[in-house]
Structures are given as structure tokens and as C-alpha cells.
């Protein structure tokens, strides 16, 4: 055992546990969040010598891959698809633009994106990473990430546009409901 290993890991853990946990909680399925955190730090514990100075993006990258593995299993995939299908059904049912708050609408639109695009947006907007750090977490170059984020924003805008009914329709719907 390399001297100082325990101390290095303990410092890494204490500095990043809350952030990794938050990362896990924000990504479905929520019931595996604690397992995801444990698995992520288990990898870090075993690979403590590989952990870079700026550890958080590296830890997010590990968590992302662990989560991807989880989702590959049939059960997890089914749970995710069910969740997305439910979100899609809610968005597609009648006056979605009126029934959903803006936050719900955005989350529904996010659910309609590809994993890569959704992850790019979440790393920046929810995890609060700079684009350079988010690129490291996503396991790609800064240039690639910039393109990915740009496309993700475009797709999200398109999703939102499809979910938000034109203002005129909303008025008409209200009128019909009133009658």
C-alpha cells in the first residue's frame, strides 16, 4: 500500500462526495444514486494514483460510465424508458404548454434529447462546470464538447418549441374550456 493513500482518498472523498452525490441524484433512475456514488468512489479508491488534480470532472466521468452500464441492463433501461415515455405522454397530452410549469417543460424537453446532448447541458447548467471541465467529464476534447453543447441547445430549443403551443392556441383552448 502506497504511503498516504488513505489520506489522499479521504481528502478526495470529502471534497467531492456532495457533488458526486448530487450528480447521481439528478440522473434517473434515482433509486440507484447511492449505489452510483459508492461505485464511483470505489473506482477512485482503486485508481487513486490515476486521479488528476482537478478531480471532480474525472469523478463525473467515472459516474457517467457507471451509470451508462447500469442503464444497459434490461431493468434499468426499462425503468428509464418508462420514465421517458411517461414524460413524453404528459407532454403530448392536450394543453401541455399550459399544464406544465416552465421547469417541468424544460425537464420534459431534456428527456427527449439523446443521452449525450442531455448530459452536456446538465454538466454545464446543473453541475455548474465550465465548458473545459465539462469536456473532461464528458470524456472529449473542449472543441468537441463545444460543438456538442451547441447542438444540444439547438435540439432542446426545438423540443421546447414542439412542446409549447403557439400563444393563439392557448387562448383558444382557454376559451373552449370556459365554454
Amino acid at each position: 500500500v502506497k504511503p498516504g493513500r488513505d489520506e489522499r482518498f479521504e481528502r478526495l472523498f470529502r471534497e467531492n462526495y456532495a457533488a458526486v452525490r448530487a450528480y447521481a441524484l439528478r440522473r434517473p433512475p434515482g433509486d440507484v444514486a447511492q449505489d452510483l456514488v459508492a461505485d464511483t468512489f470505489l473506482v477512485a479508491w482503486r485508481r487513486i494514483d490515476d486521479v488528476p488534480g482537478d478531480a471532480l470532472p474525472w469523478l463525473y466521468g467515472i459516474a457517467r460510465r457507471v451509470l451508462a452500464n447500469e442503464r444497459r441492463s434490461a431493468g434499468r433501461r426499462a425503468a428509464l424508458e418508462q420514465r421517458l415515455a411517461t414524460a413524453g405522454a404528459a407532454a403530448g397530452s392536450g394543453d401541455a404548454g399550459e399544464s406544465l410549469g416552465d421547469a417541468e417543460l424544460v425537464r420534459t424537453a431534456l428527456a427527449g434529447l439523446s443521452d449525450r446532448h442531455r448530459e452536456a447541458l446538465m454538466l454545464v447548467a446543473w453541475q455548474g462546470l465550465s465548458r473545459a471541465r465539462a469536456a473532461r467529464a464528458a470524456g472529449c476534447s473542449a472543441a468537441t464538447f463545444a460543438v456538442r453543447l451547441h447542438r444540444a441547445r439547438a435540439r432542446l430549443a426545438a423540443e421546447l418549441a414542439s412542446l409549447e403551443p403557439p400563444p393563439g392556441n392557448r387562448v383558444e383552448t382557454r376559451s373552449l374550456e370556459a365554454n
Binding site: R14, A18, R21, A38, F41, D50, L121, A125, R153
Partner: protein, 342 residues
């Protein structure tokens, strides 16, 4: 009107858990517990490239197994010995003890419910019961609560429910009350499960008990030993075998194959030989997971509700919540009647 805000600001505002990075005292305690478990985990050498993306058969369980390793207090020196044993070299007592102790520790946590899914089929020349194959899904706790559902296998898939049993196998006496649901009759029957001291006609160690209890008993008898490394589905695994257990009923043998990382069972084999006769069962565990003990997992230990089920004579006399672990839906008078679910 929809707020006309920057798109990224809208995404940020849609964060479902904006305070997720703030830990409550309880969450801080969870963090400390996890840290302690990780620090107690032997620092294995890094796995081959792509380790982080390779799926373990039971990823959910690894976290809990860490706790098991910590609870067992197994020293790093023992782990080193296990690694030496992987190379199929002659094993030492240290290796045997470590593998057996880790397995028992991983399977007997008191603050957990174990969920198991296993196809099971009878072996030998005198099947004592329908030899299947069946699929058995079960939940059990170290305190003795258990709930088992037996399904037919049809077309290679889980078919209809055949039978369901739930009750309490008292750890100290290895017997206890149980309620059995016959799915074909839609009827509940009372009874007991386990082996009493006088029951010489039954195997000395109950082969239908959960692997944790069985292995702990074998270990306590000094009859459990590691029998080398093997591979199951590409995973490193250890074989644990029992010495022959002599009983009035015959000679029993147990064999378990456990994952080398989680120490959770992958395969189980039990056989009983008496003269020329031999029977037993073999099963592969599709799922063997450890769930934290909470309201949800505890509820899995109860017998399922079966609308319209009737109770056979005596079913209600299997005592209530204190003994079964859940409320008995049958009339307390012990008479035949309709089940009433709470």
C-alpha cells in the same frame, strides 16, 4: 406567458434538486459510513482498461458487500492470500478461512433483506418433490423472515405462480411458523418450516434455508472449505464445498460458487445420498442482491395478498404478526373461511 430567458438559464432553473449538494446530518453520516467502508476495502490493483465501464453481474450489491467486508474485519493480509489462491496454487487455511468468512459476512447482514431469483431443478434418482424446473423468487432476512414464490417455467420463461410461502424461521431453533399459499387452489394453509431437534427423519442442515444461514452453520461446524478458483460467465469465482455431513437421514453435501468480488452466490448445489439413492437440487442465481432494511424491503417479506383466497382449517392458528412477521389473514378461530387482508 413563457419567460423569455436565456435557454441555459431555463435549464439551470429546471434543476429538480438545486440544493442537492447540501447534506443533511443524516446524509453526512451516510457519507462517513461509506468512507469508512471504502477505506476498509482492500485496494485491489486497477482493473484492466475499461474497468469503469465493465458491468459487474450485481452492481447494486457491491456497495453492500463493502460493508460486509468491513464488518467481517478481514485484514488486508488475508486478501493478499486470496489473490494468491486465484492462480490455482495450493491453498492455505488462511485462504479458506478468508473466503468462507467473507462469504458468510456478505450473506448475513442484520440490517438487510436479501432478494434472490433462481431457476431451480431437482437432481438425482429419487426426486423428493416435483423436480421442476422452477423459478424461485425469494426475500429473506438474517433475523429469519422469509418469503418465497415458486413459479413454473414455460417456454424458457417464468410461468404461473405455483406456490408461495412466508414466515419466520427462528434462527435459534431453525424452525418456525409459516403460511403457505397454494396458487392452484387459491387457498392458504398453515404450518411450520425447519427442523426440530427430534426430527431425525429430516436432513441435519435444512437445505431449503437461505445460503447465508446454511453457510454460517457449515462454517460453525468446521465443515466448510474453499475448493479453488473458477470462472462463471467470465467472472472470477470461488468454490466453497462442505465436507460430507452425516445424519440419520443420509449424507449431505453442499456446494456454493461465489463471486470473487462480492462474495455473493452465483451457483448452489445440494445433494443427499442414502445408500444407492441420491437426490438434491441445483440452481444458478440470476439475482442475489442485498437491499437495505427499510419499509419497502421489509414489505417484501410479507405474503402477497390474494383476493378471494380461502383459508384451510388451521391456517388461522398460525399465530399473528409476532410470529409470522406479518398479520395472518385467516380466521383466528382456525376454522375454514375467507382470508381477510389487513
Amino acid at each position: 406567458m413563457r419567460p423569455d430567458r436565456n435557454l441555459m438559464e431555463r435549464v439551470a432553473a429546471a434543476d429538480p434538486l438545486p440544493d442537492a449538494e447540501r447534506l443533511t446530518p443524516e446524509e453526512e453520516r451516510e457519507a462517513e459510513a461509506l468512507l469508512a467502508r471504502l477505506l476498509a476495502t482492500p485496494p485491489e490493483p486497477p482493473e484492466p482498461s475499461g474497468a469503469a465501464t465493465r458491468r459487474a453481474p450485481h452492481p447494486r450489491l457491491r456497495r453492500w458487500t463493502l460493508a460486509g467486508v468491513g464488518a467481517a474485519g478481514v485484514a488486508a493480509v488475508a486478501f493478499t492470500a486470496i489473490n494468491l489462491g486465484d492462480s490455482e496454487s495450493p491453498r492455505t487455511d488462511v485462504v479458506d478461512q478468508a473466503v468462507a468468512a467473507r462469504t458468510v459476512a456478505a450473506l448475513t447482514h442484520e440490517d438487510s433483506v436479501y432478494h434472490v431469483l433462481q431457476p431451480k431443478r431437482g437432481t438425482g434418482n429419487i426426486p423428493a418433490r416435483p423436480s421442476g424446473p422452477f423459478v424461485v423468487e425469494s426475500w429473506h432476512s438474517s433475523a429469519g423472515r422469509f418469503h418465497e414464490k415458486v413459479f413454473e417455467v414455460r417456454g424458457g420463461r417464468r410461468g404461473r405462480l405455483v406456490e408461495e410461502v412466508a414466515g419466520l424461521r427462528r434462527p435459534d431453533s431453525r424452525v418456525g411458523p409459516a403460511l403457505r399459499y397454494d396458487a392452484l387452489e387459491n387457498r392458504l394453509h398453515g404450518g411450520g418450516i425447519g427442523r426440530t431437534a427430534e426430527a431425525d427423519e429430516l436432513p441435519l442442515i435444512d437445505p431449503t434455508g437461505n445460503p447465508g444461514t446454511t453457510l454460517r452453520e457449515l462454517e460453525a461446524r468446521g465443515a466448510l472449505r474453499a475448493a479453488g478458483a473458477t470462472r462463471v460467465g467470465g467472472r472470477r469465482a470461488y468454490r466453497l464445498v462442505s465436507d460430507p455431513i452425516d445424519a440419520e437421514f443420509g449424507e449431505q453435501r453442499f456446494e456454493y460458487v461465489v463471486d470473487s468480488e462480492t462474495y455473493l452466490p452465483l451457483r448452489q448445489r445440494w445433494s443427499l445420498r442414502r445408500g444407492e439413492e441420491e437426490f438434491g437440487f441445483v440452481s444458478e442465481f440470476l439475482v442475489y442482491e442485498r437491499l437495505p432494511l427499510d419499509a419497502h424491503s421489509r414489505a417484501q417479506l410479507d405474503l402477497d395478498r390474494h383476493p378471494g383466497a380461502t383459508c384451510a382449517v388451521g391456517a388461522g392458528e398460525v399465530r399473528g404478526k409476532r410470529d409470522l412477521g406479518f398479520a395472518n389473514p385467516c380466521p383466528a378461530s382456525g376454522r375454514e373461511g375467507a382470508a381477510r387482508w389487513p
